[in-house]
């Protein structure tokens, strides 16, 4: 069982790089080599007791000062892993360690409000509140003190994610997907968390905004020493990160074999052609999986 529990991780240096990759020059940032801020330790997760494992014996370390990309085909458990990291769920097996402490034993509400910023795939904004109110609510929830008044800070953040100021007082309900996504990103930044987790953060954004957002993510990691974890399908986004952690699609133990895997791969390829390259990349360690 333990022989196959490690999904491969590899730095972007090993993969073929986008031009942007050259821009990231400090993977050996001193903080990067310090104690991992977050660690998955042999983590498994099943939604129902005794049910199918969505994650199976995953271990990985996330250090401060680095940007990580988590890739993998649909159904590989990316979002589930994100739930575990953000303390929304407890692993059925194994531990999630935050600064060396078991998250299951920590105050996960404080952790969520204070230490980690999550950009959910579905944004999870309150539709009845305005963009600024959504951001201020998270700032309130964190219990942190801020230099600038909260509203001013919210407006600054919205400007950073290229959301025009007149949108600040607009109800989130009235915003488009891309605009909501930007509000969600601004919200996650707003209380300056140690860890930033994003689920497909750039999926609904135009290229220019996407590049800006990625710049912000990188800057947070490299300049402010935060740990940034991005779940993405996009190879561009993945290549912008310092490390790529590829999750393999999980096969049921009884249904092993190349045919099964092949069909799963084909499925994801059909859905997202750009994924092909990643699948091949991540297919390498997957061969060693599930013996």
């Amino acid at each position: 069982m333990t022989t196959n529990d490690i999904n491969s991780t590899h730095t972007n240096d090993n993969t073929d790089n986008t031009p942007k990759q050259g821009g990231i020059e400090t993977p050996d940032n001193p903080k990067a080599h310090s104690e991992p801020v977050l660690e998955l330790k042999d983590v498994s997760y099943a939604y129902t007791k005794g049910g199918k494992h969505v994650l199976d014996h995953i271990s990985h370390r996330f250090a401060a000062g680095k940007a990580y990309a988590i890739t993998g085909p649909s159904g590989a458990g990316k979002t589930t892993m994100l739930s575990l990291i953000s303390g929304l769920a407890n692993p059925t097996q194994g531990q999630v360690l935050y600064q060396g402490q078991d998250l299951a034993k920590l105050d996960r509400y404080r952790f969520r409000s204070h230490d980690i910023g999550v950009i959910f795939q579905s944004f999870n904004l309150l539709p009845a509140l305005s963009a600024a109110e959504n951001i201020m609510l998270s700032m309130d929830a964190s219990g942190k003190r801020f230099d600038a008044p909260k509203r001013q800070r919210a407006l600054e953040l919205l400007a950073q994610v290229h959301l025009p100021e007149e949108y600040a007082n607009e109800r989130v309900l009235h915003l488009s997907g891309g605009e909501q996504q930007r509000v969600a990103i601004a919200r996650a930044f707003s209380y300056d968390p140690q860890i930033l987790v994003a689920d497909e953060p750039t999926g609904n954004l135009d290229l220019a905004t996407q590049a800006d957002i990625m710049d912000i993510f990188r800057s947070l990691a490299h300049d402010q020493g935060r740990c940034v974890i991005i779940v993405t399908h996009s190879p561009d986004v993945a290549s912008d990160c310092d490390e790529v952690f590829a999750l393999a699609p999980l096969r049921r133990a009884s249904q092993r074999g190349t045919a099964q895997r092949g069909s799963a791969q084909r499925k994801s390829v059909q859905r997202q052609p750009t994924q092909r390259r990643h699948d091949t990349v991540s297919a390498v360690p997957r061969t060693g999986q599930q013996s």
């Binding site: 929304l88 409000s113 959910f120 999870n124 904004l125 609510l137």
Partner: protein, 538 residues
């Protein structure tokens, strides 16, 4: 803190739903305010109605019990043993000394007064007012005051007298004998509670009570006019059984009955006509030898204890029992009985109000809970988001409770204001309905029994209480007459106000409603994990 601000924002944001809740709460609060103020009015009427007036109490023989016992003994005989019955009853009558003894045993007794009546026969120079000519229709007087309680009490005698009639020829004893009824009073208080009601002096003064004033009487204006008498004249009346025995009496005053000068029923003898009532001091009656029990068709002693309050009355009742009053006697208070009777519509209304209150609270509470549960379920996503960004469930629940509290309190304030404005007219309207119902019930009872206003007398609270039951001589007439004259004046209006205590109760109700209905919300919130909610959504 920010959750409170958030709650306030949410209240403003969801105007429609909150207005609906507010209206429901306002309706509940208004109904509750009316119900509570009615109940409070009933309570305060009960508590304060007798607080500032003295209460009178009487000790009377439980005749029906004695008669039942006597008749049981002679059950094998075809005829009841009237003689034995009469004797057993006569022997049981309390004497003045007995009454005074009991007055001394209880510290609750503030004062006492008593009166007794005897019949007198006409002489050639002094004739009674003829009943047929002076009859006035019996009027229903609403002017029942505590001062009339004495007569209220004696109205019970009509009841007992009828008991006699049914039991055998004893009714004869209960009949008035003679042409005049001479009543001796112990004090002004006794006079004020005269069986015929209040009167005013049209000339002269009321007699004194000590021995020096013996022989002084006051007579009714009608009688004075009939016999052409004036103050200072002397009249002679004869003993009812022995016409050779005459009494000389000096008229010191002439009075006119106020209020109910209800006439006696025809054919019952002249003595039963209030116009033929002659008032004197008890001392006079005593000196004439008419004060003894069962002589000359005189009535039994009508002895009244005055106590300070209802509580004192209860103490008195306990004290006399402790002092050895046998169970053949009952202690009663016409005042209290009558007052209780006057509260009947209000009590009924209070019961109705309580029922209404419970129904409104039950239904309203259920509606609120349902509304709240739907509301929370609808806002499940909000709960999920709030908990996902790290706001504790308890805080989220507190926010929801606080929202509801704001809405409930506003609704409560509106409802309480509306209720307190409406409570006086509404409760008086309801009370009027109750009084009307009570009166029509009385009327139909009267119609059924064919006794006209006597039903009113019975209703007035002396029924079965026995009171002093002057079974002889003028007693019947007095009882009958007063029964005719009085009906219970029901408390027909309340100035119900929403007092501090009502407001307090309303706030408690509001809090209880909020807590109960938000409990559902809290349970819902606590049950869900954010991941579940958010997963459902996406």
């Amino acid at each position: 803190m920010f959750m409170i601000a958030n709650a306030w924002k949410n209240v403003i944001r969801n105007k429609g739903r909150n207005l609906l809740v507010m209206v429901i709460v306002a309706i509940i609060a208004a109904a509750a305010a009316i119900g509570l103020s009615i109940r409070q009015a009933a309570q305060s009427a009960r508590a304060t109605g007798l607080a500032n007036t003295t209460v009178t109490a009487q000790i009377s023989l439980d005749r029906s019990k004695l008669m039942a016992a006597a008749q049981k003994q002679s059950a094998n005989g075809t005829q009841p043993d009237f003689q034995a019955l009469r004797q057993s009853l006569a022997g049981k009558e309390l004497s003045l000394t007995d009454y005074q003894k009991y007055a001394k045993t209880s510290t609750a007794v503030k004062s006492t007064y008593y009166s007794q009546s005897a019949g007198l026969s006409a002489t050639t120079g002094f004739q009674p007012v003829s009943t047929s000519s002076s009859s006035t229709s019996g009027s229903t007087s609403d002017s029942t005051t505590s001062g009339q309680s004495g007569s209220q009490g004696s109205s019970g005698s009509s009841q007992s007298s009828q008991g006699y009639g049914a039991g055998g020829p004893m009714g004869g004893r209960g009949m008035d004998s003679g042409d005049f009824k001479l009543t001796g009073f112990s004090s002004d208080a006794a006079v004020a509670n005269a069986a015929n009601g209040k009167f005013t002096m049209s000339s002269g003064k009321v007699f004194g009570y000590d021995k020096t004033a013996n022989g002084q009487i006051i007579i009714s204006k009608a009688l004075a006019q009939f016999n052409n008498l004036k103050v200072g004249d002397t009249v002679t009346a004869a003993n009812t059984t022995d016409s050779t025995k005459t009494y000389k009496l000096t008229i010191v005053g002439i009075y006119a009955n106020t209020g109910s000068t209800s006439s006696a029923p025809g054919g019952m003898g002249n003595a039963s006509n209030p116009d033929n009532a002659i008032y004197t001091s008890f001392s006079t009656l005593d000196s004439l030898g008419l004060s003894g029990n069962s002589t000359n068709g005189g009535s039994q002693l009508d002895f009244t204890y005055v106590v300070a309050s209802k509580a004192a009355y209860e103490t008195f009742a306990k004290d006399v029992k402790a002092a050895g009053l046998s169970s053949d006697y009952t202690v009663s208070s016409p005042d209290i009985t009558q007052y209780e009777a006057s509260l009947v519509p209000l009590d009924n209304l209070a019961k109705f109000a309580l029922t209404l209150l419970l129904i409104v609270l039950g239904v309203g509470g259920a509606v609120l809970i349902a509304l709240n549960v739907f509301n929370i379920r609808e806002r499940k996503y909000e709960v999920g988001v709030l908990t996902a960004i790290g706001i504790r469930k308890a805080k989220v629940a507190a926010q929801f409770v606080f929202e509801l509290l704001i809405v409930t309190m506003i609704g409560l304030a509106i409802g309480a204001a509306a209720g307190s404005i409406a409570s006086v007219p509404v409760s008086n309207h309801l009370l009027a309905g109750q009084v009307a119902a009570q009166q029509s019930q009385q009327a139909s009872q009267a119609a059924q029994f064919g006794r006209g206003m006597q039903g009113g007398g019975m209703q007035s609270g002396s029924q079965g209480q026995g009171a002093p039951a002057p079974a002889m001589g003028g007693g019947f007439a007095a009882g009958r007459a007063s029964a005719l004259g009085k009906t219970t004046s029901y408390i027909s209006s309340i100035n119900s106000t929403v007092s501090i205590s009502v407001v307090g109760e309303l706030v408690l109700i509001g809090l209880a409603l909020t807590v109960v209905s938000s409990l559902a919300a809290v349970v819902v919130i606590m049950r869900y994990e954010p991941l579940q909610i958010l997963a459902d959504r996406s």
